[in-house]
């Protein structure tokens, strides 16, 4: 047509657009494969499986949609020979198909997700090792309850250089408690229950290798539980902005064999040794 905007026909824009979209799809997908989640060291592998299932579904949708978009842009570019456009603008059948189709793909994802969420957020098993993580600008303190399995009382007025968690030494339950700074030690293959509290602002305990992340909220005790399944030393990060030193609020999680864990307790905190392995026939220690 004579009255069309200048430069909009006979140009390479349509072909270029299609090629660029296709190239982006191919490159972005190829590179995606090179980056996986960090090495798994907990029993939460099913979260990874769900991640990969969603990656498969959305990845396929991404590739197919963008390829189709590139194709229709190429196929229906205005400068193709004999170009016409159609007035067709409604198809209940098609619209119903993609509405129901999308819902049908999403429903299993939602339900699988909810089932896994329940498993992750359900109550910790009774034989779990319980530790209280105390977050502060910009350090982690891990408070072990000791042999009695009970955390000593803490009192914010007692926070001091030599009492980072404000432990009330007068409390009977505090006698066998002990604290590790920027280091968390857990036995392998036993559930670990981490309670959390913050001294100052919000933090988030992020254990990248364990698929664990939970905010620490001042005034509340939050918790997670998981089971480490691989020994080794892993980095612990803060994932919620907590101040200018947020980026260096780092700790380590050591996962040890049960025997090594007991030995380590013996060497470092003799009073807490009983916590290492509750006899199978005695009632499990509760940390409530």
């Amino acid at each position: 047509m004579a009255d069309e905007p200048k430069g909009s026909r006979g140009s390479l824009q349509g072909i270029a657009m299609a090629v660029v979209i296709w190239a982006i799809v191919v490159l972005s997908s190829l590179f995606y494969v090179r980056y996986g989640v960090p090495e798994l060291a907990s029993d939460r592998g099913y979260l990874d499986s769900l991640y990969y299932v969603i990656l498969g579904i959305t990845g396929a949708a991404y590739i197919l949609y963008q390829l189709a978009l590139g194709y229709v842009i190429y196929r229906y570019r205005g400068d193709r020979p004999g170009a016409t456009s159609s007035h067709w603008h409604e198809s209940h059948k098609l619209e119903l198909t993609w509405t129901i189709g999308t819902a049908a793909i999403l429903i299993p994802i939602v339900f699988t997700g909810l089932i896994y969420w329940d498993r992750v957020r359900g109550p910790a098993p009774d034989d779990a090792v319980t530790v209280m993580a105390v977050g502060a600008q910009f350090q982690w303190d891990f408070h072990y309850p000791g042999a009695d399995g009970e955390f000593g009382r803490f009192d914010p007025t007692l926070y001091a250089i030599d009492n980072q968690i404000g432990l009330d030494e007068g409390d009977a339950a505090a006698a066998d408690d002990w604290v590790l700074t920027n280091q968390l030690v857990l036995p392998v293959n036993r559930p670990a229950r981490i309670l959390m509290r913050s001294k100052d602002v919000q933090h988030a305990l992020f254990l990248p290798n364990f698929r664990v992340k939970q905010d620490l909220v001042p005034g509340m005790t939050t918790e997670v539980w998981f089971t480490p399944v691989k020994t080794g030393s892993y980095e612990v990060a803060c994932a919620e902005l907590c101040g200018l030193g947020h980026y260096r609020m780092r700790a380590f999680l050591e996962v040890m064999e049960e025997a090594d864990y007991r030995q380590w307790l013996n060497d470092n905190a003799p009073a807490a040794v009983a916590d290492a392995a509750p006899p199978a026939d005695s009632p499990p220690v509760s940390a409530e």
Partner: protein
């Protein structure tokens, strides 16, 4: 429409004309967006070259970059203010306040907005907000540094981080101005669209842009007051010693705080009750622009108009029921988290409807490639990319690992920032002739598009790799963590691409201002578009139409009707 002679002040400064007010918003939003872009460049400078000295920058930021090395607190201020400025002062002001004001009366056949004075007031309320936000960089302690989400206690206690001193106070004051302005605007949108449509313009004949602005007006009216309330309560906590968000036992800087009884989670609920509708306040107009632009340049009616309207309504409604997906690991009840998964993933359905309707609008088309249509096609691509990554984050079990990582940063830069920005660019290229009576340079526009599109993917797609690999958001130096050190090349690549992306925007700014004076004079309807706004003179004056306001005889998408001589039938033709 009769009106007296206008002085310079009443014409260009305290104007009642919705088009002038719209243009004032453009200028403000583009200025703020330019500043937000510079902040992004500085953020990427640090992440690409951690702690490398840049001596020349010391002259610009003597405190934040003392001896040329960025301080961590300056870095935190940078991303806090980048987010604040971009989300509120660019992506809300440009598409909503700017285009909403400019386009609604033109598209519905009205002489002006329903409340012109309120409209002017709304603009002049947001200006002090913007000025205060900018000034906050130059006060003791620097700008706010608690993220654009301003979570207390970090944002509530002055000693928690330097930016939480005066900078955070100014941030809160600026936001209250913003909310006041935006609420006035929203009210004006809703009233105008409901009452001032020209004869024949039934609701189901409105362009999708106006539909989007209508729903956005409602969203703004209902959600922004929650932020205003939150900001006010946070100000009280900071200045009057109340404890809405602060529990007992907070110990900062060797001092036990006197607060007791509050909870930080309350702020998160208030903030995200605004925050989630807000992302759709940004998205919906972009969806509307894209639909209008694609219809015009595909020379096709928009596919599935009715379901597009329903999708806008469904997205708007659902947007109020999903805020908890920002809080899956916040300490909120896990049961509540499960409810939010269902509502969140439900949004994927109307979103998919939009994506497929666009695809079928492009199919069987005769696409004209203008700068506007290229940006419109860009929106479709970015929207799908960003929408799909939302499925990971909306599934709470998977969100545990990805929450607060760069996966989230990548996600929202595609769906909200990217689609929103591309939509706004497309809209500027498309409606510029009505704004200034001149055409933008198509050549510069296309160069701008290609740089922006390719660089945008290059910057934000690799962020998903970083997030999957476990890199947290908002960290000053990822190399502190051993497991993040292998990712440095990706960060460097993103940084270089970000510089290119920023440079590309300078072309747009030049084109925008240079074309006002030197652009080719526009005709009444340069794109042969069918919408009512194209029946106005090339550079419409106060009152928009010189004679009678035309009636609307049809919907605005009558393109390529079989048996017609022309390939479009304007809305105002019987």
């Amino acid at each position: 429409m009769e009106h007296g002679k206008q002085s310079f002040v009443s014409r260009y400064i305290f104007s009642f004309d919705h088009k002038m007010i719209g243009k004032q918003y453009f200028t403000l939003a583009m200025t703020m967006g330019f500043i937000g872009g510079i902040l992004a460049v500085l953020i990427r400078l640090q992440l690409g070259f951690p702690s490398k000295p840049w001596p020349f920058l010391e002259n610009l930021f003597p405190v934040g970059m003392a001896s040329g090395i960025m301080t961590p607190e300056f870095y935190v201020s940078l991303f806090t203010m980048h987010g604040t400025i971009m989300v509120f002062f660019l992506l809300s002001l440009l598409p909503v306040s700017g285009f909403g004001n400019f386009l609604i009366p033109l598209q519905i056949g009205a002489r002006d907005m329903a409340f012109p004075f309120l409209n002017m007031l709304s603009f002049w309320t947001v200006v002090p907000g913007a000025i205060i936000i900018i000034i906050s960089f130059f006060v003791e302690g620097g700008a706010a540094a608690s993220g654009w989400t301003a979570y207390p206690p970090l944002s509530a206690i002055r000693s928690a981080i330097p930016g939480s001193d005066l900078g955070q106070t100014l941030w809160l004051v600026g936001m209250i101005f913003f909310v006041a302005s935006f609420t006035m605007g929203g009210l004006n949108f809703v009233v105008t669209i409901l009452n001032l449509r020209t004869r024949g313009l039934r609701m189901m004949r409105m362009p999708l842009t106006t539909w989007a602005q209508f729903v956005v007006g409602i969203l703004g009216l209902l959600s922004f007051p929650a932020l205003a309330a939150g900001a006010l309560l946070l100000t009280f906590d900071r200045s009057l010693g109340t404890s809405f968000f602060l529990p007992a036992g907070i110990f900062i800087g060797d001092t036990l705080m006197p607060h007791e009884g509050g909870t930080p989670l309350l702020w998160q609920h208030l903030f995200w009750f605004l925050g989630h509708p807000e992302v759709y306040i940004i998205m919906l107009p972009a969806m509307g622009f894209t639909s209008d632009i694609l219809a015009t340049f595909c020379r096709r009616p928009i596919f599935g108009y009715r379901s597009m309207v329903y999708a806008i309504g469904a997205i708007g409604t659902l947007s109020f029921l999903v805020w908890g997906h920002h809080m899956f690991v916040s300490g909120m009840s896990p049961f509540l988290g499960s409810l939010f998964v269902v509502t969140t993933l439900a949004i994927a359905i109307p979103s998919a409807v939009k994506a497929f309707n666009w695809l079928f609008t492009i199919a069987r088309a005769r696409i004209q490639f203008t700068s506007a249509s290229l940006f419109g096609l860009g929106v479709v691509s970015l929207f799908v990319t960003g929408g799909l990554t939302g499925i990971f984050l909306g599934t709470n079990a998977v969100d545990i690992q990805l929450h607060d990582t760069y996966f989230v940063v990548g996600h929202f830069h595609f769906i909200m920032a990217g689609a929103g920005l591309f939509g706004a660019f497309g809209a500027v290229y498309y409606w510029y002739p009505k704004m200034f009576g001149r055409m933008l340079s198509e050549r510069l526009g296309k160069i701008h598009f290609w740089i922006t599109f390719v660089a945008y993917y290059a910057v934000f797609f690799p962020m998903h790799y970083l997030g999957v690999s476990g890199m947290m958001r908002r960290i000053y130096d990822p190399n502190v963590y051993e497991y993040l050190q292998p990712l440095q090349p990706v960060n460097l690549f993103i940084t270089i691409a970000a510089f290119v992306l920023f440079a590309g925007q300078l072309i747009f700014i030049y084109n925008y201002f240079a074309s006002m004076a030197r652009g080719k004079p526009a005709t009444e309807n340069p794109w042969n578009a069918a919408g009512l706004e194209w029946s106005t003179p090339p550079h419409p004056g106060h009152g928009n139409w010189e004679g009678e306001i035309p009636d609307a005889h049809r919907w605005p998408y009558d393109y390529s009707e079989p048996g017609k001589k022309r390939d479009f039938t304007p809305q105002w033709e019987a």
